[in-house]
């Protein structure tokens, strides 16, 4: 087949299309998002593709389709698997009919996540097979194999790429697509599809029987393999394997074990690898999963091989690996380290924490709340999305952030024990639908006293502008059912709802003052489209009336506002013309181009 240049996530999507996937559901989350987007883009027409409201919903939708015999794929990031874990744990016991592949992207670093959790552990905990690709090419090949394994053992299978595989691009050859197969239809059988303790007990025994069998099969898999010679060995999985091979170059004086299926572990292959080796170094990102498996095998088979890795302090316990780290660790392990000659230190370089974009309506929303609550005791619970960046100076408007939807409920707990402060919860529109509504129900039912601020920019911005139930568009770009946020809130029985354009600063501040002054569950919906998708206005300019007070710079923290010779200036390549700085300038020195 033709060679194409594909991002890892695109390769996974094409792998699924070519394997005959019939339904793909998911929830956006870096670094997994492009998988579903690519299926939507390359959809030959017969695949049902949807952004579900959250990961739990996505998995359950896919489970239903799989029950009827369709091949299905579900996409999410690692923390999304926490949300989907309730249906997943039970689904493993019930089993599936049509092949089911869960793409769960891990994020070593972390680069864009709350945790460095390792989905390979989750696979072991849930008793699921997991494939761990080291490159886009391998990810493509693994998808098809994962469907085969899934259908052979009637179990969901996890494909766990990491950020560098997801967002790496490579030239790869694709396979011909499998012919489309009809969906057999749901076969009613309550002894199979209705989970009861007796069924769970029986199926638990079946699972424990097939996992070791699958582990044996994995010893023959091309994704697990041995190479090299010598009395020392290095075991690696995922992207760490590619770093190791790059670092070793032509050196074959070391035995290498590549692990592409960390669970069930290819035990006999690993024992073959370790036999005769004095020491083994394990290179893997996130947790020491391979390291622990090898250590257990040494105990079980009375091998004298010493296993070095994270537990022994030989490899870093957190953060990403790299070719350099792999080289340093491998050289220290094989020969003794040699240090490179360092460059002289550069002059002081600026740190660049990510910030809200110039013109972002969230900045205006946070600023309005800040101004309205000046001098008053208030706590600001934040949530997951671009608006988490409201924590940065000078806004400093995010006091807590835990996980999707948690801000709404954390505010309630804070209020219960600290009633003398006004408790705000900020939540984005997509997060509101994903897991915010339950929190509002809790607040109304338990008569909490709080202000909910819905930051509605009409998209899922942080992950690259996916639609959600409030947008009225589907993942396929078609007209979809649209859920009205205000109507939902009204139905839930909140005591006041105000919808305001946050860029209208004066009105926005008034709305916050009103909400802060009354009891009950009050809501402000700040609605203004994400600046990255809205048509930008003409950049504003600072005129000669600027007195250099720097209020705009000090209070807004907009990246387009810079200091030039003691006065404010606006960088035209960044300014989106939101006009917030013009509204707050005490000298009226900022205006449109003609100003």
């Amino acid at each position: 087949m033709a060679k194409t240049f594909l991002m890892g996530n695109e390769a996974i999507a094409l792998g699924a299309i070519h394997a005959g996937v019939q339904l793909v559901s998911g929830y956006p989350g870096t670094p997994s998002t492009e998988v579903l987007e690519t299926v939507a883009k390359e959809n030959p027409g017969h695949i049902h593709v949807e952004w579900s409201v959250n990961e739990k919903a996505a998995l359950e939708v896919a489970a239903g389709a799989s029950y009827a015999g369709a091949r299905v794929m579900v996409t999410m990031k690692q923390v999304g698997l926490n949300v989907a874990s309730d249906p997943l744990m039970s689904l493993v016991y019930v089993g599936i009919e049509g092949g089911m592949v869960l793409v769960v992207a891990d994020d070593p670093g972390p680069i864009s996540s709350q945790t460095e959790q390792d989905t390979r552990h989750f696979a072991r905990f849930a008793k699921l097979p997991v494939f761990d690709p080291s490159s886009p090419e391998e990810a493509y090949a693994m998808v098809r194999e994962a469907f085969e394994v899934s259908e052979k053992y009637h179990t969901p299978v996890i494909l766990r790429p990491t950020t560098r595989v997801c967002h790496g691009c490579a030239t790869l050859e694709t396979q011909p697509a499998l012919p489309a197969r009809p969906v057999p239809g749901f076969g009613k059988d309550s002894s199979r599809w209705v989970i009861f303790p007796r069924l769970s007990n029986a199926n638990h025994k079946k699972i424990e029987a097939y996992l070791p069998q699958l582990g044996k099969e994995f010893c023959e898999s091309p994704f697990n393999r041995l190479s090299g010679f010598g009395r020392r060995g290095i075991a690696a999985g995922g992207i760490a394997y590619e770093y190791l091979m790059e670092a070793l170059g032509e050196n074959t004086d070391v035995r290498v074990l590549k692990i592409g299926t960390p669970h069930p572990f290819p035990a006999s292959l690993a024992v073959e690898f370790m036999t005769g080796l004095d020491e083994v170094l394990v290179l893997e990102e996130l947790d020491g999963v391979i390291e622990r498996e090898l250590t257990v095998l040494c105990g079980r088979y009375h091998l004298r091989t010493k296993i070095l890795g994270k537990a022994s302090g030989h490899a870093p316990c957190a953060g990403e690996l790299s070719v350099e780290i792999a080289r340093e660790l491998a050289e220290a392990f094989l020969t003794g380290s040699e240090a490179a000659v360092p460059l002289p230190n550069p002059p002081p370089l600026p740190v660049r924490p990510p910030v809200l974009c110039a013109g972002c309506p969230h900045r205006a929303s946070f600023y309005a709340v800040k101004k309205a609550m000046e001098g008053k005791k208030a706590v600001f619970s934040g949530d997951i999305g671009c608006y988490t960046l409201g924590n940065a100076q000078p806004l400093d408007m995010t006091d807590t952030c835990l996980c999707m939807g948690a801000g709404v409920t954390i505010a309630q707990g804070l209020q219960a024990v600290e009633p003398d402060a006004v408790h705000f919860a900020f939540i984005g529109d997509s997060t509101f639908f994903a897991s915010g509504i339950t929190g509002v129900v809790n607040a109304v039912y338990n008569q909490h006293d709080m202000v909910l601020v819905v930051l509605d920019n009409s998209t899922t911005a942080m992950t690259g502008h996916q639609p959600h139930p409030g947008t009225g568009r589907s993942a396929m770009g078609e007209i979809a059912g649209r859920i009205d946020i205000e109507k939902v809130l009204e139905a839930l029985g909140v005591c006041s709802i105000q919808t305001v354009d946050p860029l209208d600063h004066k009105l926005a501040v008034e709305a916050v003052r009103f909400a802060a002054g009354i009891p009950g569950v009050r809501v402000i919906v700040f609605r203004s489209p994400c600046v990255a998708i809205a048509h930008p206005n003409i950049p504003f300019r600072v005129n000669e009336r600027c007195v250099g007070c720097q209020k705009c710079i000090r209070e807004l923290g907009c990246p387009a506002l810079v200091l030039q010779d003691g006065k404010a200036a606006i960088e035209p390549s960044l300014c989106a013309g939101c006009g917030l700085c013009a509204r707050i300038c005490p000298a009226h020195a900022i205006g449109g181009v003609e100003a």
Binding site: T30, E246, L343, P346, P347, P354, V355, L389, C558
Partner: protein, 206 residues
């Protein structure tokens, strides 16, 4: 032979499109390409780096330190930050203009961009400093810095791709209404680099 090209800048400057154009041009010539991108939170004004590796049997998507033949820096401080990736004797094409982070503006202590450019001049054998603002002004768009840098990089010879090959990639990957704008930026970037490189030669022969 493996050709490694590192692109670095600040989120929002257009590094990802530049890396895609390099990849497309190399692929059209029949080369294999492996890349790594920064996608996610850092795209909101943080440091972003794209690794582009052209050639066969490449394992790591990230360029190992000291192995990039060329660095395309959209911003001086990011060039200095990524300098450890440059091979000894390698080329750096850097945009002159500093992007001050909000934290620096707030503290009233913008970083010293001239000191960073001086550092680059002292450390880099083949340095091309591009006045990206001038090219953007000539083109009438602030969004063509990425393609102007590509033009300068092609002109330096260290990218291993010609302006013609990059033009073809632009025609293939960019929306038709932006073709002429980007081709103009590519040519202007190349011209600016040509001038700077010929100055260097003169200085070298004196």
């Amino acid at each position: 032979m493996i050709r490694n090209c590192l692109l670095c800048g600040v989120g929002g400057q257009g590094t990802v499109l530049a890396s895609k154009l390099i990849s497309a041009a190399a692929m059209q010539r029949g080369d294999d390409v492996r890349t790594a991108e920064t996608i996610g939170m850092a795209q909101r004004g943080g440091c972003v780096v794209s690794h582009v590796r052209i050639g066969r049997d490449i394992h790591s998507p990230m360029i190992p330190l000291g192995q990039a033949q060329i660095i395309l820096a959209f911003e001086p401080a990011e060039a200095a930050r990524c300098l450890p990736y440059l091979v000894p004797g390698g080329t750096v094409v850097v945009n002159r203009k500093a992007v001050q982070p909000v934290t620096a503006t707030l503290s009233g202590k913008p970083y010293d961009a001239q000191a960073v450019l001086d550092y680059l001049a002292a450390q880099v054998e083949n340095l091309v400093v591009l006045d990206g603002d001038a090219v953007c002004a000539q083109c009438g768009s602030p969004r063509v810095l990425n393609v102007a840098l590509l033009g300068a990089a092609a002109q330096s010879g260290a990218l291993g791709l010609t302006c013609e090959e990059l033009s073809a990639a632009i025609m293939q990957r960019v929306k038709p209404q932006f073709h002429s704008l980007n081709l103009q930026a590519l040519a202007l970037g190349a011209q600016a680099a040509e001038k700077e490189l010929s100055h260097e030669d003169e200085a070298g022969t004196v």
